[in-house]
Amino acid sequence: MTEGVRLQVRDLSKRFGGLIAVKAMSFDLRAGEIVGLIGPNGSGKSTIMSLIMGIVRPDAGSIKLDGVNIAGWAPHRIARAGIGIVFQHSRPLQRQTVLENIKLALLPDSLLRLVADVGVDERARAIAARVGLTAVLHRHPWTLPFADLRRMELAKAIARDPQVVLIDEPFAGLTRGEIAMFSDLIRWFRDQGRAVLMVDHSVKSVAALADRVIAMALGERVAEGSADEVMQNETVRRVYIGGKIEAVARTKSLTEADALLRIEDLSVRYGKAPALDRVGLKVRRGEFVSIVGLNGAGKTTLFNAVSGLVPYAGRILFADSDLKTKTAATIARGGVVQCPESRELFGAMSVRENLDIGGQHLSKAEREAQLSWLFELFPILKARQAQAARTLSGGEQQMLAIARALTMQPRLLMLDEPTLGLAPVILAQLSAALERLRTTTPITLLLAEQNVTFALPHADRVYLLDHGQITWEGTPTHFAGERGAGYL
């Protein structure tokens, strides 16, 4: 089986503080093969890519390129050894043209070569033609549509003539036609005998292209095989959907007049890439609403728009007042509190200090009462009070993030993927805490989740977000029947 192996990864491990990002991963990449590495956010797939490229150093394990161990090398040496990467987000040189940006990739790493070789211009033009950039050669990157910027990144990777190509989310933000074009280019890589590793969060997007798919969760490989096999795999389904979907019908009656949050025709673009497309939804006072969708569907963008962190088109009304003119700070003080996916804890500060910050505006007695309530909700935090936040485990960090959001005394609490990268046992604890919030407090909850099993049991209503659009709305009991199968 070692025939044609270009890249051999063995027992690769990486920790970030208390978080194990990659745990003893092993896999091979062969020449002329496209492999899809998939996993939800926080599964470690992006870390694998960074490890191979040398952007982060592995703690243990080996990465062999044609038999040479490159683990721990500086990225530029790894690049010269024959590994190329196509970043999802890049900062091209804005003052240079597309052609000059491609030429950059063709330059030698030398301080003495002030003038590029004569062949460089010709090669850059040939590469541009191959990826379809000929028409825009002399334009500046900031004038280009999103797909052309991605083409330019691809062109830069091709210019290095790498034997192994790593591509981060090859199809994010692209239209159907553009996806077909990029797929052709990636197949062309394979036909030239290069090894291609595509990293993405869903099997669906890489299924048509990948010869083989490796699925990851919590830093480990959970499945490997053809796209179909991986999609049918029990563990994979459990990781993405969370296992068997259970839902409880609610009898609570909430009338139309009670709408606390109303979103109408919300659209958001990131530069050239559309993130949300005319989204409309409603959350009633005291309701628990779950927004489910795969990573990249636009959940975080939706929350950021509500929090006033990204510019948008459309209307967002909270308690009947338009949020558009308000600053992020005013919105938060008005009771719309977001608990972000990235947690955003103050890592160097203790658990207690993180909690005290949120309660600055309260009197001492109120603060004490609130703190004891929070410690009751998350008992583990009481034991960890004096510990620096960054030394907590992933689950404890998530609990602290939720607790800190609660110290802001929200009327609407938006939880963005609290299950990110957490083990099942922690999920049960979080689930219990959410249930207590729902039943014992007047707080309205909006939960964004990829993990459907986690999202459904608490929800009064569910929205399904797919590629920036709401594609389904209903009660949790109907979700399994109507949408469960096609979710992945």
Binding site: M53, G54, I55, A74, P75, H76, A79, R80, G84, I85, F87, S90, R91, L93, Q94, R95, Q96, E100, K103, L104, A105, L107, D109, L111, R113, L114, V115, A116, H140, W142, K156, R160, G271
Partner: protein, 308 residues
């Protein structure tokens, strides 16, 4: 080559240089003196822009490099009687050496620490000069026996010639392949690395080049003025002026730095009648330009609409 002769920038620059060269025919010796100093300042600012605009590193202590060059030349000339041209070369060499000693460890630091290291280096140099007063003249400074010339026009032409040569070299470098790699390193170091470029090596090289130009200009400046003192070549305030000149003229333009330096020095001179208010007004203008035209004067003119 065709592109070069068609570039309006070339013709405009040629005209400006020609006009500047003819200035001694009708401008007072006093104004020539101000411009002479401004031209050396322009070289300081260009050297700084190479590091900030291209390599993306903020050097808060340009006067460390300038001062090492200036004082090395002054001490060799004053104490040892070494001939002037050798002193200038030695000044450049010392600045390069000092710059490397500083940059090699400092560039390994991330974030604002590089800037802090360069700032501390200036204070160290300033203190060293005061402590070793018997060699350096301490706070009073020292006079150098040799001067470039005693004629104002000759001094002016030397400074202009030096400025033009430095501008051609630095501007050429910024437009070369190395300049392109430097820009990439400054803007997105990870991507530059992933394209196979040794970012640290390129940044150290940029720092060294910046050091050589700063040191040479520093040495030339003291041979124009005839004295070397902490207040004129090392003080943090001088460094801040160099930075303001470069940012005012336009980041990542090299030539803009010269405009910024000439503007800054001329404005300070012309507003001298304002007394204490002088510095205040110049600083306020500089602040306004930085706040409202962050791309600087030349940057704004050249790259309108380029911002995303």
């Amino acid at each position: 080559m065709v592109r070069l002769t068609r570039s309006p920038l070339l013709w405009v620059s040629l005209l400006v240089v020609l006009a500047a060269a003819l200035l001694p025919l009708w401008v007072s010796a006093y104004l020539l003196g101000v411009l002479t100093a401004a031209y050396y300042f322009g070289v300081f600012a260009m050297a700084w822009d190479l590091l900030f605009g291209f390599a993306g590193e903020v050097n808060f202590g340009p006067t460390f490099l300038i001062g090492v060059g200036a004082y090395t030349a002054a001490i060799l000339n004053g104490q040892q009687g070494v001939p002037l041209p050798l002193c200038v070369i030695a000044g450049a060499g010392a600045a390069l050496l000092g710059g490397m000693l500083l940059a090699v460890p400092a560039l390994r630091l991330r974030g604002p620490y590089f800037g802090l290291v360069t700032l501390v280096a200036v204070l160290l140099l300033q203190n060293a000069i005061v402590i070793f007063a018997h060699v350096t003249g301490g706070e009073i400074g020292m006079t150098v026996p040799d001067v470039l010339s005693i004629d104002a026009s000759t001094n002016y032409w030397i400074a202009l010639g030096f400025l033009v040569v430095c501008a051609i070299l630095l501007f050429g470098l910024s437009r070369s392949s190395v300049g392109l790699i430097l820009q990439a390193s400054g803007q997105d170091a990870i991507e530059a690395e992933a394209l196979g470029f040794n970012v640290t090596k390129h940044k150290i090289a940029a720092f060294c080049i910046s050091a050589v130009f700063s040191g040479t200009a520093g040495a030339m400046l003291i041979f124009y003025m005839g004295t070397a003192s902490v207040d004129t070549v090392i003080d943090i305030a001088i460094g801040v002026q160099v930075i303001i000149a470069a940012v005012l003229g336009g980041r990542r333009t090299i030539l803009g730095a010269v405009l910024g330096a000439v503007f800054l020095i001329l404005a300070t001179e012309f507003l001298r009648p304002l007394g204490q208010l002088n510095t205040f007004v110049v600083s306020a203008v500089a602040l306004a330009v930085i706040l409202f035209f962050p791309d600087g004067l030349l940057g704004y003119a050249l790259h309108r609409g380029e911002r995303e």
